[in-house]
């Protein structure tokens, strides 16, 4: 030890036998590490395959049965044996499937950002209060529009959807600005967490008040929105959702290093050269972008954001964000598309609320993963 230290950091090891023992240990370890990384790469690859299969399944299933080769040709060339089939695939199933994929990615990644930043396994994308803001926007539109608007909303026509999205987006944007303002001022992540939670309570209270005085059919329209749906996004709106989600994901990708540093807490992260202020803003902004886009277009999709990061950690057995970030993207998309397929109950005409499926089927899976991960501790 003394001989080693004498040469100072970064220099070759001193005595021959020491060098031999160390390199022997290292060989052993690096092969171990190699296996680990190989295994983790394999898992990521597997996730891509599963995602691809689910994408195709989602496009293939629906109330109208369309042969698989026609679906492929509709996707690739824009033509199929029947123009109705082409329409169904390109105008309905494709936007719905892509929306589910984007929403799943966004929620998975924003959940990971929140859990790492707040160092809290219970944190989820909605803790910043952004989705509460969105729900307030929607509640204001649905519950308080004049009589003329209600028929439009009740029918959930295209214009109604767009109005809802706009209201949710506006609510989310206002909340986001507030959260960013707070994030600029507070010293600790805990303060931000409590502010976000309190803001959520405040907004829920206002929404409850609106619900209390609203007419029953309006309440039904609002509740329908809270169930969540991937079907409301049209092919024309899709690029907006995709653009915002991609921007948020790119921002998250640039923060792999600070996120890893944050695993040791803010003090250590700063001592390892991280710009706390910039990182906090980056994390909050990326999360707010991802969450507000998804909530505006799909409603408040619960569960995916809190569960997917845990699933990924459990599957990969790692807390390294270089692995977790792509993994939460993939698994988020898988879970969202899977839930959307199940919600439509293939073979039945019934469509179940999305939020029911995500929690009902997802919660037991996550319980299993977490119990296994901590071996009952």
């Amino acid at each position: 030890m003394t001989q080693l230290a004498q040469q100072g950091p970064g220099t070759a090891l001193a005595s021959r036998e020491l060098r031999a023992t160390v390199s022997a240990t290292l060989r052993k370890r690096s092969t171990l590490a190699g296996i680990g990384i190989g295994r983790q790469r394999l898992i990521l690859l597997l996730m891509i395959v599963v995602l691809g299969a689910l994408l195709m399944t989602s496009l293939a299933l629906g109330s109208v049965s369309i042969p698989l080769d026609n679906i492929v040709s509709a996707l690739l060339s824009g033509h199929s044996d029947q123009s109705a089939w082409t329409n169904i695939v390109l105008k309905f199933r494709l936007p719905k499937t892509l929306t589910a994929m984007l929403a799943g990615m966004a929620l998975g990644v924003s959940g990971l950002l929140m859990q790492t930043y707040f160092r809290n396994p219970l944190a989820e994308p909605f803790v910043l209060g952004v989705s509460s803001g969105a729900s307030l926007g929607v509640a204001l539109v649905v519950l308080s529009t004049a009589g003329g608007g209600s028929a439009m909303l009740a029918g959930l026509g295209l214009a109604g959807d767009l109005l809802l999205s706009a209201a949710a987006g506006l609510g989310a944007a206002v909340t986001m600005s507030l959260v960013l303002l707070v994030a600029l001022r507070v010293r600790s992540s805990l303060t931000l967490l409590i502010m976000g939670l309190m803001f959520g309570y405040l907004v829920s209270a206002i929404v409850s008040l609106l619900l209390y005085f609203a007419r029953p059919e309006r309440i039904q329209a609002y509740i329908n929105w809270t169930f969540g749906s991937f079907s409301g996004v049209t092919a024309a709106q899709l690029p907006i959702l995709a653009g915002i989600v991609m921007a948020g994901l790119l921002m998250a990708a640039t923060m792999v290093k600070p996120l890893n540093a944050l695993l040791l807490g803010e003090d250590y992260a700063r001592s390892m050269g991280m710009n706390l202020h910039r990182t906090r803003l980056g994390i909050v902004l990326a999360t707010a972008l991802l969450v507000s886009a998804v909530t505006a277009f799909c409603g408040p999709i619960a569960f995916i954001g809190i569960a997917v990061p845990h699933l990924c950690r459990g599957i990969l057995r790692s807390s390294n964000h270089r692995l977790l970030l792509p993994a939460t993207c993939l698994v988020g998309a898988i879970v969202a598309i899977g839930a959307s397929i199940i919600a439509e109950m293939p073979g039945h005409n019934l469509v179940l609320p999305l939020n029911v499926i995500t929690a009902l089927l997802g919660a037991p899976v996550v319980m299993l993963v977490i119990l296994r991960q901590f071996r009952g501790r």
Binding site: V22, L263, L264, Y268, M272, S318, S319
Partner: protein
């Protein structure tokens, strides 16, 4: 070559308050940390040791004056640049979930790696070196959550080493450790300072360990810090003053704290060696005064140096006992 790695000029530390006067913990500090030296920061609880460390590390704004790293103010350095010069180890190790020892130490390379945190060959070499320097290579593959407190603290130090900063600040790194582990960590820090050319500042509660390992001590008391070589600080009484509390005083001749007791009944212990020493300790602990004179109220005699028996004479009455417990009982019954 200038050996000073960190310098404070007219530094005052404490907290600013919005609608009240500042809380000043210490002021007028002109201190230096030198390359190759292990400096121990000592002071009673709540005197501001952690605040001083945080101020030195640039995480807390000084009330006055400034901290300089090679003539640059620590607060004006960019975080990444600062991280290349100064590393930190804190008391509490955070929960680290699934992280392995290797991954933890690899985090130390963050200030040196690219935006994705990809490790170069040089980074890998540094990580191996740091793990080896704290003799923790065997822990590389283990999950940090599953190693002992002492091992985890070693990994945290290895992480700080991997950061390749010439200055390391540690805030009570041995707080939760048992004595052998504490000795181990302090010896490690001493060797890193002496042979690795680092300037290390460690706040520590264990006075004996500090006296035995540190090249320099900073004694924090009454809003100021006295710096010096440990032995000088003992001899000129500074060390005793710093920790003075009612009923406890620093004994210069033994280098330990002794509990001042209200003088009880005198007992004389005759005999030498370990048995006599521990009998004196037992008597002191139970409130008797060790009397050097043979006309004390009671006299305990070591019969044989290695023999099993104690001879006790109280008021002229002799009795024999098998162990110290029996002697103490007999003394209690005698009602001196």
């Amino acid at each position: 070559m200038n050996d000073t790695m960190l310098e404070t000029r007219g530094l005052a530390i404490g907290y600013r308050r919005a609608r009240a006067s500042d809380i000043r913990l210490a002021q007028g500090l002109n201190l230096q940390l030198q390359r190759g030296k292990l400096t121990g920061l000592l002071g009673p609880n709540g005197i501001g040791k952690s605040t001083l460390l945080r101020t030195l590390a640039g995480m807390h704004a000084p009330l006055d004056g400034a901290v300089y790293l090679a003539n640059e103010k620590v607060r004006t350095l960019r975080p990444r640049e600062l991280a290349k010069r100064l590393s930190l180890v804190l008391t509490d190790a955070p929960r680290m979930g699934l992280m392995t020892g290797y991954e933890l130490v690899a985090l130390g390379r963050l200030p040196h790696s690219d935006w994705l945190g990809k490790l170069s060959a040089n980074d890998l070499q540094m990580i191996e070196w740091a793990l080896d320097a704290v003799s923790a290579t065997a822990l590389a593959g283990q999950r940090v959550a599953e190693v002992s407190d002492g091992q985890r603290q070693k990994l945290m130090i290895a992480r700080a080493l991997a950061q390749d900063a010439k200055l390391m600040l540690l805030d009570e790194p041995t707080a939760y450790l048992d004595l052998p582990r504490r000795m181990d960590i302090m010896r490690l820090l001493r060797q890193l300072a002496r042979h690795g050319g680092l300037a290390i500042l460690v706040s520590i509660h264990d006075l004996d360990l500090a006296l035995r390992n540190c090249d320099q001590l900073w004694l924090m008391q009454n809003g100021t810090i006295t710096a010096g070589v440990p032995e000088d600080l003992v001899l000129d009484g500074n060390l005793g003053d710093t920790f003075k509390t009612d009923g406890i005083s620093f004994d210069d001749s033994s280098g330990t704290f002794v509990i001042e007791r209200v003088a009880g009944h005198g007992v004389s212990v005759s005999g030498n060696g370990a048995r006599a020493l521990w009998m004196r300790r037992a008597l002191e602990r139970t409130g008797y005064r060790i009397d050097k004179h043979t006309n004390a109220a009671a006299i305990a005699t070591v019969e044989r140096e290695t023999g099993p028996e104690w001879q006790l004479r109280v008021n002229g009455q002799q009795s024999r006992h098998q162990n110290i417990a029996a002697v103490l009982d007999s003394l209690k019954d005698a009602k001196l």
